[in-house]
Chain length 311, copies 2
């Protein structure tokens, strides 16, 4: 505990963002403070791709889906005629990222595991995480979480916050490893979901994944997802792209409780990736950055603010 | 703690169900026990209507929706032409309860608050709970929870379980009062949900309820809802109708962890209501009761097993 008291955020360089983070957490969790908030209401929400781990050159779940796609097409040959499946198999990433919510990518992700049971899907995710390596960073994907953000998760845990992942990624994909990697239990994952169907198969209960999208937890969907799964407004929101804009607004604008918004700005092409407006990936950041001064959102300059990037 | 140790379930008469409940909770939470389960995996799921509080003569949320319906029709006059709205306004409950998932009732519930913000909806629920009385039992609806089940919730809390409500009722309706009434936080409610739309209204973020059903958390939907929102199989499931059958199966059949299923059988026409096969309400109980011996589910005979019904 003495180390934590000394500096709970050792991977953060001294500066305005680090100071604001520490001051906010102290203010809402100190009894007698004017900003004190009871434990039951201390909810924080974190985007995942680009906020807790990278999303370049593509969201990691897309890499998983591409790896699974051949097997899926073997299981269900009719899928080979799907234009988005063809684009994925041909490596045409541009086609997959067109559209407001990356519909092609979502389609490929759905297709890659339709017909599987949720248990078989979880086993496939674990197997992939155990063997796959990030093409540029050359590490297992789950060894690429951001050290400074892991420190924020630990800081909030120590102050009796409940942190939730609120990601455009698939809830089923994240639930497999979030407890091990972030210390966040599976019920604190809000993500995009597909419909599953319950059945007794040879007497055993299974849930079978379908092609039907149930909920896309991105953009304006994020506040709706938070409402659906958490049922109260968060105090703190952490994001990195315009897909997090509505979540940041929902958390910080006219919140009757104290609130805090933070944007991770990917400025570090040397240690990680540098991108914002021009990216074709899920991490496009223009409008949320533009609004940050008027909204009071803190913007992390990764190159400047973080001494270490990866945990 | 000495009182709890003496009898944590004082409203339960001595008997097989009470013994089984106490033995199971002790076995999974005692370190060194062959059936020990780590705290993080101690998840219990409870149906609400008919399991934690009554559902006769109609689910309480239906009474709320009927009370709101006049106002909704004034807000949106075109709703008056909806056949199910007409049935509700005419008191034709039979029409509302037809169909596999009480589609008419769900429609009336959706219609009663479409176009409202989630905050206005929550305020309406609280106002209604503060003034409405159950027609036969003559008490506020939220003063009608079952004392024996409140004791089970407290027992599980004392043994570091996380209890979730998994109900066919609306998540938004339940979230307003579950923390106050059951000590269960809003994020541990899995219920039927409608789509909400995020907007900035006069600069303030709001979520507006729509007519679109997103997910019906009943029957085979319950295991899917549990998977979506909790992400792991429960150890314990509590229900009272065939709408809980799939949830009981998902919890107890071939679960690699120890598991426990319980059905509340409404046998007490004097203190509460007596019904099972013949009811037209949501509480129809035939198939789950039939399977209970082979599945090892415990069946509560309300008249015989409970010394007190209401908390």
């Amino acid at each position: 505990m003495s180390t934590v008291a000394a500096d709970p955020l050792p991977s953060w360089r001294p500066g305005a963002v680090k100071e604001a983070l520490l001051a906010f957490v102290a203010a809402v969790s100190s009894e007698g403070s004017a900003q004190f908030v009871p434990e039951s209401e201390r909810v924080a929400v974190f985007d995942n791709d680009g906020t807790l781990w990278p999303e370049q050159p593509l969201p990691f779940q897309a890499a998983f889906a591409f790896a699974e796609l051949q097997g899926a097409v073997q299981r269900q040959p009719e899928l080979a005629s799907d234009p988005m499946v063809q684009a994925a198999l041909a490596g045409d990433i541009g086609a997959l990222l067109a559209g407001d919510h990356f519909e092609g990518l979502l389609r490929v992700i759905a297709v890659s595991h339709a017909g599987m049971t949720t248990e078989a899907f979880a086993a496939a995710v674990e197997a992939w995480l155990g063997s796959a390596r990030h093409p540029q960073l050359q590490r297992p994907y789950d060894a690429l979480t951001y050290a400074p953000m892991q420190e924020v998760l630990a800081l909030l845990r120590a102050h009796h916050f409940r942190s939730f992942i609120v990601s455009g990624g698939g809830a089923d994909f994240m639930r497999v490893w979030v407890e091990r990697v972030y210390g966040i239990p599976p019920e604190r994952v809000v993500g995009s979901t597909g419909r599953t169907h319950f059945a007794l198969r040879d007497g055993a209960p299974v849930l079978v994944k379908s092609l039907d999208t149930l909920f896309v937890n991105d953009g304006a969907g994020k506040p709706a997802g938070i409402h659906q799964c958490i049922g109260r407004r968060p105090l703190m929101a952490f994001g990195n792209s315009d897909g997090d804009l509505a979540m940041l607004q929902y958390t910080t604008i006219q919140n009757p409780r104290p609130s805090f918004g933070l944007i991770v700005h990917h400025t570090d092409g040397e240690r990680e990736f540098a991108y914002d407006a021009e990216t074709r990936s899920t991490g496009r950041l223009v409008e949320a950055l533009r609004q940050s001064p008027e909204r009071g959102w803190h913007v992390v300059d990764m190159a400047r603010d973080w001494t270490t990037v990866f945990a």
